[in-house]
């Protein structure tokens, strides 16, 4: 079980890094989102997992059963999912606006903030 999860996380990280290194804005954003999912799986794996009891104290008992799941990583991963979803939405809108305004989604073409120098010694003037 641990091995399968580890392999799944490794594969997701690889896919995320590959996409995030792309020059295309949207592939980069999707890559970061995939990478975020991989990290969320890591957080989830920080607790116990597998065929175990839900973390609910049964009626009459004082504490959790011995093999109950750890609820804390689930709470953490929920927080992380919410935050990364907000950031994903923001970055998609940002990407769409950038494409609209600059007419390109190739990061090599997006040179408004840092124009390439024409002079070998002095940087260009930003106006």
């Amino acid at each position: 079980m641990s091995l399968i999860l580890a392999l799944a996380i490794a594969l997701t990280v690889a896919a995320g890094v590959y996409l995030a290194l792309s020059r295309d804005l949207f592939r980069c954003i999707v890559g970061l989102a995939v990478l975020g999912s991989a990290v969320n799986l890591v957080v989830f794996a920080a607790g116990r997992f597998g065929p175990i009891q839900p973390p609910i104290v049964s009626a009459g008992a004082e504490k959790l059963a011995e093999h109950a799941a750890n609820p804390l990583p689930q709470a953490l991963v929920l927080t992380a999912i919410v935050i990364s979803f907000a950031l994903l939405c923001f970055s998609l809108v940002l990407g769409a606006r950038l494409r609209q305004q600059s007419g390109s989604d190739d990061s090599n073409q997006l040179r408004n903030a840092e124009p390439l120098p024409a002079d070998p010694v002095k940087p260009p003037v930003l106006d």
Partner: protein, 488 residues
């Protein structure tokens, strides 16, 4: 309760200014008033911490280590106070005509959101909670980057977002690994758990991952590319806020985690951090030498100064931590002030590029003097706050016999001096390229002058009366490194 106010007041102000989205004046007044309350609270918190030593509150009355703890010691209280001072100065500057940010309804909520996230990050004593505040800081910073809406700013925001997301994900993964290994998130509980012998092999790897994430957030070599790529697109007051605070939160997290929580980390980690610090100083300084745009020069200097702060952490001693804290306080004041002054230069001379401006010494000798005082403080000329910062830092490198580290730190000051002299010669000394009448009179610059003067007075106070400040930072660092002192 006092300990939560530096977080609740900016949050409440953000909410109120968001509700006042129709009234420009109302927003401004509420925003300034909120910043004032934040400042008063930060002062009260500092006084209380000075009296008691360490304040702590666990939310929801959960027993520790299960409740989320907020704690203020001298280190946190000083940084919260300096953030509050900067918040007031920046909002004051924003009311002037010196390159203010456009007053959209979102500006003030975002600034206060940023202040809330920064002060909460200084106060929290829980690793996952720290992650949440870093995320809030990222979201507020992104909002401020794009809220002008120019293509250049959107582009900068994308670079900022992509690289900072990677840092955030590294941070979250490190938190997960550390929680998986120790079962703790509270700083005090983590510190105890980190000493368990069975974790001696795995934990340094996780801590290194965590350090990598904070190095990216702090803008250290070779992970600083997002900083000079984005900061120069911002208007002056927001730029001052970013340049003064954001990277310093990363430095604070490193200081807190390596100095207190994981102080048993292997020497190799600190040794590597030291060399990275030197490379950060050097590359930041060299980047600044190449550029001619005021904002870009100053942005590269942020990177260079981060190197000094990291060097103090790499020394792994109470004196090193004290030097880092003193340097951070000095740097927040001086760096933010230089950006505020850059806004004034833009308003008077008409451009940020040094090749397009000049003649300010003749036209505005007062501004020239203000710049000179702050610039020489950043360089570290005696007797200025920068001098004492570098003195504390370099003395500790020599005490620990890291002569190369100390030597490089001193040599990089020359690069800083070169850049500052370049700004002085080009912006102030040479005549304006478009004739002597090109320095225009601008109405409503008084608030900008006042804000810059406020920060300059604090810088001068640090320079001419260093004893109380040094005594405070030494008490702070001995306070949070007491476990290490006991071991020695």
């Amino acid at each position: 309760m006092l300990i939560l106010l530096p977080l609740l007041i900016p949050l409440a102000t953000a909410l109120l200014t968001a509700l006042l989205y129709r009234q420009v004046m109302g927003r401004r007044v509420v925003s300034l008033f909120g910043a004032g309350c934040f400042l008063v609270c930060a002062i009260l918190l500092l006084i209380d911490v000075e009296r008691v030593g360490r304040l702590s509150v666990a939310l929801g009355s959960w027993p520790l280590p299960y409740g989320i703890e907020f704690a203020a010691d001298r280190l946190s209280a000083a940084l919260v106070l300096i953030s509050a001072v900067l918040g007031v100065a920046v909002l004051w500057h924003q009311t002037s005509a010196a390159d203010p940010a456009p007053e959209t309804p979102l500006l003030h909520p975002l600034i206060h959101g940023l202040l809330a996230a920064v002060s909460a990050a200084f106060l929290t004593a829980d690793l996952f909670n720290l992650y949440v505040w870093f995320e809030l800081m990222l979201i507020a910073a992104l909002g401020l980057l794009v809220h002008g809406g120019e293509p250049r700013q959107l582009e900068a925001a994308f670079k900022y977002l992509a690289l900072n997301m990677v840092g955030t994900l590294l941070f979250l993964a490190a938190v997960a690994f550390i929680y998986g290994a120790t079962g703790q998130l509270n700083f005090t509980a983590l510190s105890a758990a980190a000493r368990r012998p069975e974790l001696a092999a795995a934990l340094p790897v996780y801590v290194t991952l965590l350090v990598l994430a904070f190095l990216l957030k702090a803008g250290a070599f070779p992970l600083f590319a997002w900083l000079p790529a984005s900061y120069h697109t911002l208007p002056a007051p927001v730029l001052a806020l970013f340049g003064g605070l954001l990277t310093k939160v990363g430095v604070y997290a490193l200081l807190r985690l390596l100095g207190q929580v994981f102080d048993a980390a292997p020497d190799l980690l600190f040794e590597g951090l030291g060399w990275l610090a030197l490379l950060t100083m050097l590359t930041g300084g060299l980047g600044a030498v190449y550029h001619w745009d005021l904002r870009r020069i100053l942005a590269f200097h942020i990177v260079s100064q981060i190197g000094y702060l990291l060097l103090g952490i790499a020394l792994a001693s109470a004196a090193g931590a004290a030097a880092t804290l003193f340097f951070t306080l000095h740097n927040i004041l001086a760096k933010a002030n230089l950006f505020l002054i850059a806004g004034l230069i833009w308003a008077l001379a008409g451009h940020y590029d040094l090749r397009r401006i000049g003649g300010l010494y003749l036209a505005r000798p007062g501004l020239a003097l203000l710049f000179l005082v702050v610039a020489f403080s950043l360089v570290g000329a005696p007797p200025s706050s920068g001098f004492w910062s570098k003195f504390l830092l370099v003395r500790e490198t020599f005490v620990q016999e890291h002569y190369v580290w100390g030597g490089v730190a001193l040599a990089v000051s020359l690069l800083t001096l070169y850049s500052m002299v370049k700004i002085w010669l080009e912006a102030f000394w040479k005549p304006h390229p478009e004739g002597p009448d090109s320095v225009v009179s601008v109405a409503n610059l008084a608030p900008a002058y006042a804000a810059a003067l406020l920060l300059a007075v604090l810088t001068l106070a640090m320079g001419f009366m260093p004893e109380p400040w040094v005594r405070y930072v030494e008490a702070a660092s001995y306070g949070f490194m007491d476990s290490q002192q006991a071991a020695l």
